[in-house]
Amino acid sequence: MAKNMTVYLKIWRQPGPDQPGRMVDYTLQDVSPDMSFLEMLDVLNTQLIARGDEPVEFDSDCREGICGSCGMVINGIAHGPLKGVATCQLHMRSFDDGATIVIEPWRARSFPVIKDLVVDRSAFDRIIISGGYVTVKTGQAPDAHAIPVPRPDQEKAMDAAACIGCGACVAACPNASAALFTAAKISHLAYLPQGRVEARERALAMVRQMDAEGFGNCSNHGECEAVCPKEISISTIAKMRREYLKAVVLNPE
């Protein structure tokens, strides 16, 4: 078994939304390489509480990369050094004994800090509220086999639908754009016959809401795709643009 390690942490501490924050240093010893990254923070918090200090606040829930709650910028990379995983799926064996680890919250105008590493991502929910659904009430559905869906379309829809809404794409983007998140939902529904009906109106509404939330524009850096824990493709952004253009051209206001 690999031996336990010592890590030097630099963590963003911010007491509240309107208060200034700063980086604080902590040394943590006897860290098992089998610990997950968040368990390492749990251990730090236990020690902080014992000392009478306030623990570091961070969001997490499923701890298996599916709920999208967790998210930290670790050594400058959203969700840390491993590709295709969320922060909670990272283990300490990805770091060296004696490593310095810098931990910061998502930084974006549209994701204000609530406390320490916890941010407010409700802008994402408002983008969905603006049109990220098929307009269908309970009871209206025909038999599930009424409309066959070509398997390649279903696969593409599923690829896009895998988004966990964590916000890493925004955190990684130099413009703090929410294009990948928005495009993933627009693409998911546009690939399916059930969602096709409202595809253009949906694209129009969601893109407008995205802009209203103050997210930046997409200028094709591709950083979002690189950090996405579900490896959502930026080709979805091209699809979003097509749907949006069609909507603008066909429904000039």
Partner: protein, 637 residues
């Protein structure tokens, strides 16, 4: 307290139709005047809020997470059942009903389970219409897979992310209603109490988890959709925020708690790696289709697994259950793993795991075929454990996964408090003493999309509602109690943090009220839990302030409730002198060591009524009658 299941009369196939006809309706123009508080937005809550909003009710939805999309339902992997019979392999509503009753070891209410099987098909239709990308075949039609406890293929799935896709479907349907102005969202709120006025549930008290403010909300009815209590055991496959608090506080306000001892322990989870462990990860049950479970024959055999020759291995499931082998149901597989570890033959550093070996399957089918089937799972295992399952056998161990017990509800999903409805994993209905795979998602969505929206109308149309506002004495008094408790936790100047208490409680629960239970152990557990609870209130240390974001304060409140719920679970297990489903009493087993039910004495749902602090709760029995299926001993030999 009187338990009235309100099961409608007539043949089982006609009960729901007849009931729907007999129930009162709320005039469409009046729906807007009824305010419904939905607590929790997992599958059950989001589907209920979406549907009630669509009908025109004034819906207010509260949840702990920052977004409804993060509820624990998101983590379900395997799939959702329905009796569509698309594969033409002999499925029917009756078969789904029968399998669920039998799988639950004959401890569920027949009429509810039949209705569940009836509405299951509508769920699949609804989800497809919402854009849920279920797996399909090349012709464009939906694919099905088979799951434990059934001989037909009736499980619909979306890769290994079925729960995610179903929840996103329900979430988007709810968001549509938010857009329409029918649903209002209250994120980062934790319900801490229920307000009762004139005997009716009329409101809730919540903590705003950002500002720390204690808020009161009034309405005409409350739908509790707050999930299960598996985290009582500290380590489980449940998400970190899953908890029993809302349900427990309702219990203390008069809602009966039913069958708390029916907990499900899943056999294939990644074993504990050390003290730092915060939760356990489920490995899909499907692995048992090709993996062989074994341990060394001798306890002192410490050789690496690949150096242990065939004759020194004990494939104990294949040996004990020749006809089902590695595919026995969850409860049977879990107990067998515990038995070999108790004999000292467990593997891994702590001796608390068994091998799940793919060597033979890889030799037979080739590495590629195995990678195609299980590649994702193997990668996940490698990432967590740093061991490569293509080369060394996986190590697995059972873990707490699901709770069949929960608040007692009648056929209308109403608890023993008028106006308090309970949906999803939070209620006790439908799964009896053991839940079959892929049926929790089905139940949560059935409750939310297709049952509550009908039954709540009957209550609203048939009741009178004196005005209730948050300025009423009932609201003020309940809010004050919540404030006092919060104050008490923060003020406590002890020196043990909530997590340490949780770990200690979990250890008691796991050791004495886990996979195998006996009267002496259960009595001991009760004594130990009481002592720990005493210490909790003396020695608890909660950091930070009450009027700010403070996750350890939230956590401390939940542990406080587990300290009481744990005792009730043990009492219920002690009372039930039989073995059934997930509840195994060592005193009641067959000569071969299998669970032995006692239908004569225990064919009932145990509903507990709260009688005050440190008072013994009162047990009420809802007798279960089986008119449509015959009670049989389960056998998997």
């Amino acid at each position: 307290m009187k338990l009235d299941s309100k099961v409608p009369g007539g043949p089982i196939q006609e009960k729901w139709d007849r009931h729907r006809f007999e129930m009162k309706l709320v005039n469409p123009a009046n729906k807007r005047k009824y305010k419904i508080l939905v607590v929790g937005t997992g599958l059950a809550g989001a589907s209920a809020a979406a549907t009630l909003g669509g009908l025109g009710y004034d819906v207010h939805a509260f949840f702990i997470h920052d977004s409804p999309r993060r509820a624990h339902s998101i983590a379900a992997q395997g799939g959702i059942n329905a009796a569509k019979n698309y594969p033409n392999d002999g499925d029917s509503i009756w078969r789904l009903f029968y399998d669920t009753i039998k799988g639950g070891d004959y401890r569920a209410r027949e009429a509810n389970v039949y209705r569940l099987a009836q509405v299951a098909n509508n769920i699949i239709d609804q989800c497809v219409a919402q854009g849920v990308p279920f797996a399909r075949e090349y012709g464009g039609y939906l694919d099905n897979r088979s799951f434990g406890g059934a001989q037909v293929s009736r499980t619909f799935y979306a890769r290994g992310q079925t729960g995610q896709q179903l929840l996103l479907g329900a979430y988007s349907a709810m968001m549509q209603q938010v857009n329409a102005g029918n649903v209002k969202l209250y994120p980062r709120r934790e319900m801490l109490d229920l307000v009762i006025k004139n005997g009716q549930a009329r409101g809730i008290i919540c903590r705003n988890l950002v500002s720390g403010e204690i808020e009161s909300h009034a309405g005409h009815a409350v739908a509790l959709c707050t999930g299960g209590y598996g985290n009582l055991y500290y380590l489980s496959t449940n998400a970190m925020n899953s908890n029993a608090t809302a349900a427990w506080r309702c219990y203390k306000r008069g809602a009966a708690f039913a069958n708390p001892c029916f907990t499900q322990i899943h056999p294939t989870c990644i074993p504990v790696s050390g003290d730092h462990q915060s939760k356990l990860t489920l490995m899909s049950e499907s692995l048992r289709n090709d993996g062989r479970v074994w341990v060394p024959k001798r306890a002192d055999d410490k050789r690496p697994p690949n150096q242990i020759p065939e004759e020194d291995r004990d494939y104990y499931l294949e040996r004990r259950y020749p006809s089902f082998g590695n595919l026995v149901p969850r409860d049977v597989a879990s107990r067998a793993a515990k038995a070999v570890c108790d004999e000292g033959r467990g593997v891994g550093e702590a001796g608390l795991s068994v091998y799940l070996d793919f060597r033979d399957a890889i030799a037979r089918l080739g590495r590629k075929a195995i990678a195609d089937k299980y590649g994702n799972l193997f990668d996940m295992y490698l990432r967590i454990t740093d061991e490569n399952p293509y080369e060394v056998p996986m190590r697995i161990y059972p873990a707490v996964h699901y709770t069949m017990g929960g608040l007692w509800v009648d056929y209308n999903l109403m608890s023993t408090i008028p106006g308090l409805y309970v949906l999803g994993e939070a209620n006790f209905s439908d799964h009896g003493a053991n839940r079959l795979g892929a049926s929790a998602l089905m139940q949560g969505l059935a409750d939310g999309y297709f049952i509550l929206p009908y039954t709540i109308g009957d209550y609203l149309a048939g009741s009178t509602f004196p005005t209730a506002t948050v300025e009423d004495d009932e609201f003020k008094a309940t809010r004050q109690e919540v404030l006092d408790q919060t104050e008490r936790m923060i003020r406590n100047r002890g020196n043990k943090d909530p997590r340490t208490f949780h770990r200690e409680l979990g250890a008691i629960m796991w050791d004495y009220v886990g996979m195998a239970r006996n009267a002496q152990g259960l009595r001991e557990a009760i004594t130990k839990i009481r002592a720990l609870r005493e210490e909790y209130w003396q020695n608890l240390k909660v950091p930070g302030r009450p009027d700010s974001f403070n996750k350890y304060l939230e956590y401390a409140g939940r542990i406080g409730d587990y300290m009481e719920l744990g005792e009730l679970v043990a009492m219920d297990a002690l009372q039930r002198e039989e073995s059934c489903g997930g509840h195994f009493r060592e005193e009641y087993q067959t000569e071969e060591g299998e669970a032995l039910r006692n239908d004569e004495r225990f064919a009932f749902a145990a509903a507990w009524e709260y009688k005050g602090p440190n008072q013994k709760p009162e047990l009420h029995r809802e007798d279960l009658t089986f008119e449509s299926v015959e009670l049989k001993q389960r056998s998997y030999k």
